[in-house]
């Protein structure tokens, strides 16, 4: 899932300073799952904003909605009519969601309430960890299912640097050296030979990436002679 966290309140308040009618839109998928942008947070942020602005003597009208996904236009359309009544939309989705709405409702300002952090998994209650960098060239088969691209501070693919100490990363003592984990896993799986092979440098992705799956699309009308 995409892991995101809510921006500092001051920053959000500042973004909204010129708007008096704002619709906060939560997203019911990833950011709900990572406990940051779902229905409950929408309700809290709305109340906080109303109070902050009242205290400043500059009242704001805040609408609250949560849709299942902000990365699909069909879901975004569910709030089309409502959105038209506001000066701005404050999206509590990842960056994809913010842009999804902005793209769909071109004439209304869409503002991000969240900082999108990474593609991650749960690492115990209230904790998430980055595990995939979406590099577009998966090598997990040779690293025992542990990604050094996402989980090594230097994204090294030929083994560790010399900086790890006591099995911990030189960058943060909170992180294990991922290569230690890869090594242990490869030993367990009897696949250590993968580590001994030189991995060629990765092809770097070119932004923006786009995936068109012609095989999934309705064929264009056949032309003559084919």
């Amino acid at each position: 899932m995409i892991v995101a966290e809510i921006k500092p309140f001051g920053e959000i308040k500042d973004m909204l300073k010129d708007y008096n009618k704002v619709l906060i839109v939560g997203c019911g998928t990833c950011v709900t799952v990572c406990l940051s942008g779902g229905e409950r947070q929408v309700e809290l942020l709305a109340s906080a904003l109303r109070m902050a602005r009242k205290i400043e003597g500059n009242e704001i009208t805040v609408g609250e909605r949560t849709i299942l996904r902000q990365c699909d236009p069909e879901f975004i359309d569910q709030i089309k009519d409502e959105a038209a009544q506001y000066d701005a939309i404050l999206s509590m989705a990842c960056g994809a969601g913010v842009q999804g709405i902005a793209e769909r409702f071109g004439s209304i300002t869409v503002l991000p309430a969240m900082n999108t952090r990474f593609i991650g998994v749960s690492d115990g209650q209230g904790t998430w960890v980055e595990v995939c960098a979406a590099c577009g060239d998966c090598i997990l088969y040779k690293t025992g299912g542990i990604c050094p691209v996402a989980r090594c501070a230097k994204s090294l693919i030929n083994g560790p640097c010399g900086g790890s100490q006591g099995g911990l990363c030189e960058v943060s003592k909170d992180n294990p050296c991922v290569w230690q984990q890869i090594y242990a896993r490869l030993v367990k799986l009897n696949l250590l030979h993968f580590l001994k092979e030189i991995s060629p440098p990765k092809t770097r992705p070119v932004h923006p990436r786009r995936l068109v799956r012609e095989d999934l699309r309705l064929k264009k009308e056949q032309t003559k002679g084919v």
Binding site: G159, C161, G162, S164, K196
Partner: protein, 291 residues
Amino acid sequence: MGFREALDSGKFLITAEIGPVKGTEIDGLLEDAELIKGKVDAINVTDLQSSVMRLGSMAVCHLLKDLGIDPILQLTCRDRNRLALQSDLLSAWVLGIRNVLALTGDHPTLGDHPQAMPVFDLDSVSLLKVIGRLNEGFDMAGNQLKGAPDFFPGAVVNPGANTETALEMQIIKMEKKIEAGARFFQTQGIFDLDLFERFMKRIEGFKTTVLGGIILLKSAGMARFMNKNVAGVFVPEPLIKEMETTKDKVKTSIEMAARLIKGLKNLCQGVHIMAIGWEKRIPMVLEEAGL
């Protein structure tokens, strides 16, 4: 005799290491170099050591060359993508630099510009392969070069990695580096000769040249700091005690380094001295060690 020739000659190799300053004031650095010139086979120049922004390795190497010293260009993967790395290598060659030490590099967060983009487009293994390819007259993309360099590439290894797993991986990576073209290895600082001996035993079959690292210990505090913070460096307690109890720290430091060098003479093919500011004292160390 250049470093490569010295290595081929089979003599006990001596290299030293100097770190460029933050700024353009280079007189002291050149003075130090001048002092050890003739006593060492080559001098390494670090590449933004500890990720702290400073004068570049290539320029200093070029200046050393002018002084008649054979420099070893340290080149990390931290700040340059594959375009810049290849271009810098070509630039170095035309400036007379013949030896390259390929390193991954420290992470920028450890330095004075922690917000910097960490590049790591290539890693040390692939960088060695790139050097080999340039030597053959081709760039990474397979394009032919107009005039090719002939670098003498080296790499580093950390024999003191403090877990068995870490050491095993260091050795696996060392093998990959040899396969990628590394001709010599300079190691992290060694204080425990028994440990190093065991390491050398494990790499017995590797056909390569190893220069054991020597760090000039300035104080017990420095030893403790390194034990805690510098990966692969472990100063045993008796040596710390020795520094703690001595009246003349400089003398003890020099004696200790000389003792280690004497020990290394039987274990590997050379030493690499990291004086960390005490470059002026390198001649005394060598003298003490009988080199």
